[in-house]
C-alpha cells in the first residue's frame, strides 16, 4: 500500500497542529484506488501487481478533543455525523498530533480507530500520527509523521506487526532534490474555487472533448506527414517494379548477345580451321588460344549470366505478388529518359522529379540502360553511375563497338553493376577478369554491401 498527500494539504495540517496549544486531531478526506501493474519479462510470464494507493485530498480538523467520543473512548455516532456532515463518505482516515510522545498508537487511539473502521465502513482506515519533538533548550524542533494502517495483519508477533503497519507517505515534489524536473502531483485538487476558474477559462485551451487544442493541431500535422510518406511509398514501389522489369529485359538481351557472339565465333573458328588445314603455320595456332581465351573466358562466364536473374537485386516477390503492366518498359528506352533518372533528394522539397519510365529507382542509377544499348547516342547527359563510378565506362560503351574491349567492358560493367547487388560469389568470380580496365578506370569503391572490400581489392 502506498499513500500520497498533496503538499498544501500537508502544510495545512501541520499549520493547524502546530498552532494548537494541546493535542490536536481531525479527519482525512480523500480516496483509495487500486493500481494494477502488469510486468512482462523475457520468460513470458506476466505478473500483475495490485497496489492500493491512498490519496489524501483534504483534512477536516476537530475543534476540540473528545468532540466525538467520551472518556471511555466510545464514539457517539450522532456527534460524528454532525461533525462530518456530507463529507462522511470521503473519509479515508484520521490524524492526531501530539507533542513529545512516541511514534506509537496510544490506547485510546486504538480503541477509536477500531470503532471508526466499523462506523465508517472503511476497511483500510489509515491513521496519521504527527509528533513534534523539541530539544530541551528549544533550539531544534522536529515534526515527525507516520502513517499507520492498523487493520492489516493481526496474526503477527507484536514487534513485527508494529512495524508492518506503517506505510510510506509521499509528498510530491518534497524530498529528493536531485530530481531536476517538477513532477505534476498525482493527487488531484478538489477545491471548488479551482474547478470554477478552470471551467471559466478552460475553453481557451481545451476543445469540447476536453483535449488540449495544441495536441489536436500537432496531431493534424502528424497525419499530413504520414499521408505524404504513404504516397512516396507508393511511388517507390512503382519505380522498383519498373526497374525490376527492366533488369529482366536487360538480362534477356545479354543472353541473346552472348548467343549471337558464340555463333559468330564458332563460324569464324570453323572458317579458320578450314583455312589452317591447308597451311601448316603455327603462329596462327598460337593466336588461336589468345583469341580463344577471351572466347573461353566468355564461355566460362556466360553460365553465370543466366544465374543473374535469380540473383537479381530485386526480390521476385515484386513481380510475383502484383501483376503489373509492362507497357512502360521497353528495351529501346530513349536516351533522353536518362536525363530524368531521379537523383536522391529530400522529401518535401519542390524539386522532386517524377520517376523515369525506366524506373531506375533512387540511388540505383546504373549504367545498365546505357550498357544495354551500345548503339545509342554517344553522349548522355546523365553522368556517372549511381555508384559514383566515372563516366569513362559509359563513353566507351556509347562508342558501341562489338570488340573484345567492349566485350570486356560490357563484361566489366555487367560484372560491376550487377555485382553491386548480387552475391559475393559471382562477384569474386568476376574480379580477376576486370584487372586492367578497372585499374584504368580508377573508380572509387562501389556502393555495394561490400563496397570497401571491392575498393581495396581493386587497388
Amino acid at each position: 500500500m502506498a499513500a500520497s498527500i498533496s503538499g498544501y494539504t500537508f502544510s495545512s495540517v501541520c499549520y493547524h497542529s502546530a498552532n494548537s496549544n494541546s493535542d490536536h486531531e481531525g479527519f482525512l478526506l480523500g480516496e483509495v484506488r487500486q493500481e494494477e501493474t502488469v510486468s512482462i519479462s523475457d520468460t513470458q510470464i506476466s505478473s500483475a501487481e495490485l497496489l492500493q494507493v491512498v490519496e489524501i485530498h483534504n483534512h477536516d480538523p476537530c475543534a476540540q478533543l473528545f468532540s466525538f467520543y467520551d472518556y471511555a473512548g466510545k464514539i457517539n455516532e450522532e456527534t460524528l455525523n454532525s461533525i462530518l456532515k456530507d463529507r462522511r463518505k470521503n473519509v479515508i482516515g484520521w490524524y492526531r498530533f501530539r507533542r513529545n510522545t512516541q511514534q506509537q498508537m496510544s490506547f485510546r487511539e486504538q480503541i477509536i480507530h477500531k470503532q471508526l473502521t466499523q462506523l465508517l465502513g472503511v476497511p483500510d482506515l489509515v491513521f496519521l500520527l504527527f509528533s513534534f519533538i523539541s530539544t530541551a533548550n528549544s533550539s531544534t524542533h522536529a515534526l515527525e509523521y507516520v502513517l499507520f494502517r492498523p487493520n492489516s495483519s493481526a496474526n503477527w508477533s507484536s514487534t513485527l506487526s508494529r512495524y508492518n503497519q506503517r506505510i510510506t507517505l509521499t509528498i510530491p515534489n518534497l524530498g529528493n532534490t536531485s530530481q531536476q524536473e517538477y513532477k505534476v502531483s498525482s493527487v488531484p485538487n478538489t477545491s471548488l474555487n479551482y474547478t470554477q476558474v478552470i471551467k471559466e477559462h478552460g475553453a481557451e485551451f481545451f476543445d469540447k472533448d476536453g483535449v488540449m487544442k495544441d495536441i489536436r493541431t500537432i496531431f493534424q500535422v502528424y497525419s499530413a506527414l504520414q499521408d505524404k510518406v504513404q504516397a512516396v511509398c507508393g511511388e517507390v514501389e512503382q519505380s522498383e517494379r519498373v526497374k525490376e522489369k527492366n533488369q529482366e529485359d536487360v538480362n534477356k538481351l545479354k543472353q541473346q548477345i552472348a548467343l549471337r557472339k558464340r555463333k559468330t565465333a564458332e563460324e569464324e573458328r570453323m572458317l579458320r580451321e578450314a583455312q589452317n588445314a591447308d597451311s601448316h603455320s603455327t603462329p596462327e595456332e598460337n593466336t588461336e588460344p589468345s583469341e580463344a581465351s577471351p572466347l573461353s573466358r566468355i564461355t566460362f562466364h556466360t553460365p553465370s549470366a543466366p544465374e543473374r536473374p535469380s540473383t537479381s537485386p530485386n526480390p521476385p516477390s515484386y513481380a510475383d505478388l502484383l501483376s503489373q503492366d509492362d507497357s512502360l518498359l521497353s528495351s529501346s528506352s530513349p536516351p533522353t529518359s536518362a536525363a530524368l533518372l531521379p537523383r536522391p533528394q529530400a522529401v518535401g522539397s519542390p524539386g522532386h522529379p517524377t520517376p523515369s519510365p525506366l524506373g531506375m529507382g533512387l540511388g540505383l542509377g546504373l549504367g545498365l540502360g546505357a550498357g544495354s544499348n551500345p548503339v545509342t547516342t554517344p553522349s548522355t547527359p546523365y553522368l556517372g553511375n549511381g555508384d559514383g563510378s566515372s563516366s569513362d565506362s559509359l563513353d566507351r560503351q556509347a562508342a558501341g563497338q562489338e570488340d573484345d574491349e567492349d566485350d570486356d567492358d560490357d563484361e566489366e560493367d555487367e560484372d560491376e553493376d550487377s555485382s553491386e547487388y548480387e552475391n559475393l560469389v559471382s562477384e569474386a568470380a568476376h574480379l580477376p577478369m576486370v584487372s586492367a580496365s578497372v585499374l584504368a578506370q580508377g573508380r572509387p569503391a562501389a556502393l555495394s554491401p561490400d563496397g570497401d572490400a571491392r575498393g581495396s581489392q581493386t587497388t
Binding site: 494541546s22 472518556y71 513529545n100 480503541i111
Partner: protein, 386 residues
C-alpha cells in the same frame, strides 16, 4: 531525566495536574513488590515551546511488576486538565484493555487526587489478566498457573509476566512472582526495627523464572523485605532448594514456604528461649547481674565473686540459640593485658545441651563457673598485671 527525585517531578508538572501525580509519586504502591514507589521520568510538555512556567503534562511511569519494570507513557493535556489521560503501553503493543473494566477511566474525576493511582492499579490488574492469557502459548506453564490458582494461599497473590525472551527467536519465557503466605507478625519487634528505611509491609516474594516453555530451565529466587532479611540473619542465612527438574510449582512453592516458616519459627523461638535463659540467670544470680539486653536478650553480664576474687562473665547469645551455644567471656576486674584491656578469656565449649531449659542452663552454668574460675584466676594472675 532518569532517577528524578519525586520533588523535582512535582515541580515541573503543570499545577493542575500536580495533585494527581503527587499521590502516585508519594504514596503509590502497586502490586506485590511494594517496597519501591512508582517512579516518574521523562517529563515533557504538550504545549507550545513558548508556553511559560511549569507545564509538563506527559511522563513515563515505571511500575514494578513480576520482577520486570513496566514503562508506560501517560499523556495529559495541560490546557485541559479535566480530561482523562491517554496511555502508551511501551513494548506491550498488543495490550489493549477493555475500557469498561476501568471504572476510574470511565468516571474520571480530575478533582480526586487518587484517581490516577486507582486507574493505574486497575490497568495493572488488566495487564495481569493479559499476561495470564499469554500463558496459553505454553501448556506446561498454563498448567502451573492453573494449579497455583486453585490454591487459595497463592492464587490471589500472584503476578505473572509472560513474554518472549527474544523477539526474533521466539523463545518463550515466563516469570511467576508469588507472595508467600508466611506470618511475620510474631517476629520480635526489635529485630524489625533496625532498618534505615521505612520498611513498609513485611513481605516475602518468591520469583520463579521459566526460561523456556518446557520448564527445563527454572531459576527460583527469594526476595525478602529488608527488615525480614535482617531479622532472619541476612541474605546468606537463607538458602532455598533448587527447583527439582520435572517438578512443578504447586509442590515447590509450599516447600519453600515451609522452609521460610520454619526459619521464622526458629527465630521466634530463639527469642523466647533467650528470654527464658536470661530470666533464669536473673533469678539464679540475682544481684550479680550487671546488665542485660532487655530487648533482644542477646547479652548478659554478670559480676561474680569467688573467694574474694571478682570477675565478670559476659554471655553472648547467638541468633540461633538454643541450637548454637552461648559464648562465655570471663573478664578479670583487676588485671590488664599489655594492650590496656582487661584480661579476659573466652569459653565457647563447655558442658551444654540445647535441650535444657533455662533453669537447667543457669544451674549448669553456675556449676561450670565454679569449676572454671580457679583456672581463670591463675591465668589472670600469671598473664595480667595489676
Amino acid at each position: 531525566m532518569n532517577n528524578m527525585s519525586p520533588e523535582v517531578a512535582l515541580n515541573r508538572i503543570s499545577p493542575e495536574l500536580r495533585p494527581l501525580l503527587c499521590s502516585v509519586v508519594r504514596n503509590g504502591r502497586v502490586g506485590l513488590d511494594s517496597t519501591n514507589c512508582l517512579r516518574v521520568t521523562d517529563l515533557k510538555t504538550g504545549c507550545t515551546s513558548l508556553t511559560p512556567g511549569p507545564c509538563c503534562d506527559r511522563f513515563k511511569l515505571h511500575i514494578p511488576y513480576a520482577g520486570e519494570t513496566l514503562k508506560w507513557d501517560i499523556i495529559f493535556n495541560a490546557q485541559y486538565p479535566e480530561l482523562p489521560p491517554d496511555f502508551i503501553f511501551g513494548e506491550d503493543a498488543e495490550f489493549l484493555p477493555e475500557p469498561t473494566e476501568l471504572p476510574h477511566l470511565v468516571q474520571w474525576d480530575a478533582g480526586n487526587p487518587e484517581c490516577l493511582l486507582q486507574l493505574v492499579k486497575e490497568l495493572i490488574q488488566q495487564y495481569h489478566h493479559y499476561q495470564c492469557q499469554r500463558l496459553r502459548e505454553s501448556s506446561r506453564l498454563l498448567f502451573e498457573y492453573d494449579s497455583l490458582l486453585e490454591d487459595p494461599n497463592y492464587g490471589r497473590n500472584m503476578e505473572i509476566y509472560a513474554g518472549r525472551k527474544n523477539s526474533w527467536t521466539g523463545e518463550f519465557s515466563a516469570r511467576f512472582l508469588l507472595k508467600l503466605p508466611v506470618d511475620f507478625s510474631n517476629i520480635p519487634v526489635y529485630l524489625l526495627k533496625d532498618t534505615a528505611l521505612d520498611p513498609g509491609e513485611d513481605v516475602a516474594l518468591l520469583s520463579v523464572s521459566f526460561e523456556d516453555a518446557e520448564a527445563t530451565q527454572v531459576f527460583p529466587k527469594l526476595y525478602l523485605s529488608p527488615s525480614i532479611e535482617h531479622a532472619l540473619g541476612g541474605s546468606s542465612a537463607l538458602h532455598i532448594p533448587a527447583f527439582p527438574s520435572g517438578g512443578c510449582l504447586i509442590d515447590y512453592v509450599p516447600q519453600v514456604c515451609q522452609l521460610l516458616t520454619n526459619k521464622v519459627q526458629y527465630v521466634i523461638q530463639g527469642y523466647h528461649k533467650r528470654r527464658e535463659y536470661i530470666a533464669a540467670f536473673l533469678s539464679h544470680f540475682g544481684m550479680g547481674v550487671v546488665e542485660y539486653d532487655a530487648e533482644g536478650f542477646t547479652k548478659l553480664t554478670l559480676l561474680l565473686m569467688w573467694k574474694d576474687f571478682c570477675f565478670l562473665v559476659h554471655v553472648d547469645l547467638p541468633l540461633y540459640f538454643p541450637r548454637d551455644q552461648p559464648t562465655l567471656t570471663f573478664q578479670s576486674v583487676y588485671h590488664f593485658t599489655n594492650s590496656g584491656q582487661l584480661y579476659s578469656q573466652v569459653q565457647k565449649s563447655y558442658p551444654y545441651s540445647p535441650r535444657w531449659d533455662g533453669n537447667e542452663m543457669a544451674k549448669r552454668a553456675k556449676a561450670y563457673f565454679k569449676s572454671f574460675i580457679p583456672q581463670f584466676q591463675e591465668g589472670a594472675f600469671a598473664n595480667g598485671k595489676l
